[in-house]
Amino acid sequence: MSEALLSARGLTKRFGGLAAVNDVTLDLWRERIHAVIGPNGAGKSTLTNLLSGDLPPTSGTVTLSGRDVTSRSPERISRAGLGRSYQKTNIFLPFTVWENIRLAAQSRTPHALRVLVGAAGLREANARAERALELAGLQARRDHVAGAASHGEQRQLEVAMALATDPQVLLLDEPLAGMGTAEAERMVDLLLRLKKAHAMMLVEHDMDAVFALADHLTVMVNGQVIASGMPAQVRADAAVQSAYLGEDAHG
């Protein structure tokens, strides 16, 4: 087994008396997709926010490529090699699809405070953005305003923007949410291709996608991990069956 690129140990987040995430330990390995599932309110998005630095944890640690990044700002964690997408589409609506991706790629160019060169001429950033645009299959939408793109395209754009920052670790928060069947299939294909170069955490409700993609499965309920392991094992777990997979998701 390759080394873990991202490790969380005993991660806890309390909002007042409520522990939204309670003592969660998990690892993300290169070339593996780690799916996190659980009912609404289980703490999956909070967990994602703790890992990306959007929220500081109450206790516990996060290490990224061997470096402690606990409670670091999101921009520092991003620059340390983590890219994430959001459950609620979080893009630059008035900008074109291309400018959304290009801006993401620009974050990795040095000397970003240059004021007298054109941003459109940053060769390295353009190449990175072009790759991400292509991977996400958005070439045809390149010059469209992002706010006018379809829901599915906006979801693809979310992922493309995360990719354009050249991350080693990808956290994808429900990338398939609200997608049609054809779009969802495309996205599953994309994620399989991305697996080769990334360590990936996938928060997802679509069970077909989860079982098609996941190498490792963690189930959360009420902020706690109730099962974690190979998807087949977890599926057979009695606690999981009764708590979550039971009627509504697998019936």
Partner: protein, 330 residues
């Protein structure tokens, strides 16, 4: 490129031609205008530089500052302190010094204020500006409420700023340079990052942009450019007082930027000219019965701005763009 429609970042050809004609008209104006009007238009140009500096943080970055006049006034005071009683001061070191003083003040104040967001940013910028205002207002050493006279215009050597036309053209040159610089900046990596912060700062941080540094740099640069304008103001009027740093001055600049159209710098220029022109028109509104229409010019100005914001959210520049486009089609 980005198509932040509301901001009209990319100026269509028609607008660019209109702006070029406007520039030619400005350059030729001193040949036809009287001294009085030449001075008045120079004053409008100074305010246009001030409005552009505010547009960098307000229209581009999305930070509404109610204290921007502090940096405008500080540079005027810097000129006043640098000028001896009986001889002119050299333009070549006093101008950079004044802009640097304003930039430094903006850096220090910015360090505290750009951490805040939305309504808090508005309040904190206003609070800092009021502190600067009263620092000068209450201190005799700093001129107090009466202000300070600047007896001579700065000396340039190559040209004579005491000549009203020369001063006018010098101001025009500064206006054009600041405009070209800011337009260039708008499409640089730095400018694109500032626009990204306006639209979605949260995502910018998630993508690795240290937005605090970007905002602080923009705030500092805007302060230094406001300083350029304030220096010219002090040089032209030969007098500075705390009013220059006051709340009203800051509010007027915000109105100029909104009136003209935000985020493209051309709008700020148009807005500054329109605001100053309308100010004169509205001050001449006659008295009807016991109601002095001219004294209450702010009433008419307020109404006009409400109309523009309601019916032309892209400002006067947006209106002009629409008119030109319609003519194209006809």
């Amino acid at each position: 490129m980005s198509t932040a429609k509301a901001n009209l970042e990319t100026l269509p050809l028609g607008l660019r031609i209109a702006l070029a004609i406007g520039l030619l008209a400005l350059a030729a104006f001193p040949f036809v205008g009287t001294d009085f009007y030449t001075q008045m238009v120079a004053r409008m140009m100074i305010l246009a530089i001030f409005a552009m500096s505010l547009d960098l943080i307000q229209g581009v970055t999305g930070l509404v500052s109610l204290g921007h006049a502090a940096f405008f006034g500080l540079a005027g005071y810097a000129l006043a302190f640098a000028s001896p009683q009986d001889t002119p001061v050299s333009l070549w070191w006093s101008l950079p010094l004044a802009a640097a003083a304003s930039g430094l003040a903006a850096l220090v104040i910015g360090f505290f204020v750009v951490r805040t967001h939305g309504i808090y940013f508005i309040m904190v910028t206003m609070a800092f500006a009021q502190m600067v205002f009263f620092l000068f207002f209450d201190n005799k050493v700093l001129g107090g409420s009466d202000g300070i006279y600047i007896n001579f215009k700065p000396q340039a050597g190559l040209f004579d700023l005491e000549d009203k036309r020369v001063f006018y053209w010098f101001t025009l040159a500064v206006l054009v340079l600041v405009y070209l610089f800011l337009r260039r900046l708008l499409f640089s990596p730095f400018g694109r990052a500032l626009a990204g912060i306006r639209v979605n700062e949260h995502r910018m941080r998630a993508m690795g942009f240290g937005t605090f540094g970007y905002k602080l740099a923009a705030f500092t640069l805007a302060g230094a450019l406001a300083g350029l304008a304030g220096y010219l103001w002090g040089a032209q009027t030969g007098f500075v007082n705390p009013e220059l740093m006051g709340f009203q001055m800051s509010a007027h600049a915000i109105m100029m930027v909104i009136l003209g159209g935000m985020g493209n710098f051309a709008g700020a220029i148009v807005g500054a000219f329109a605001f100053e022109y309308l100010l004169h028109v509205f001050k001449d509104v006659p008295t009807i019965g016991t109601f002095d229409g001219g004294k209450h010019w702010q009433l008419w100005m307020g109404l006009f701005i409400v109309l523009v914001v309601t019916f032309a959210p892209r400002g006067l520049l947006g209106v002009l763009e629409r008119l030109l486009r319609r003519k194209d089609k006809a």
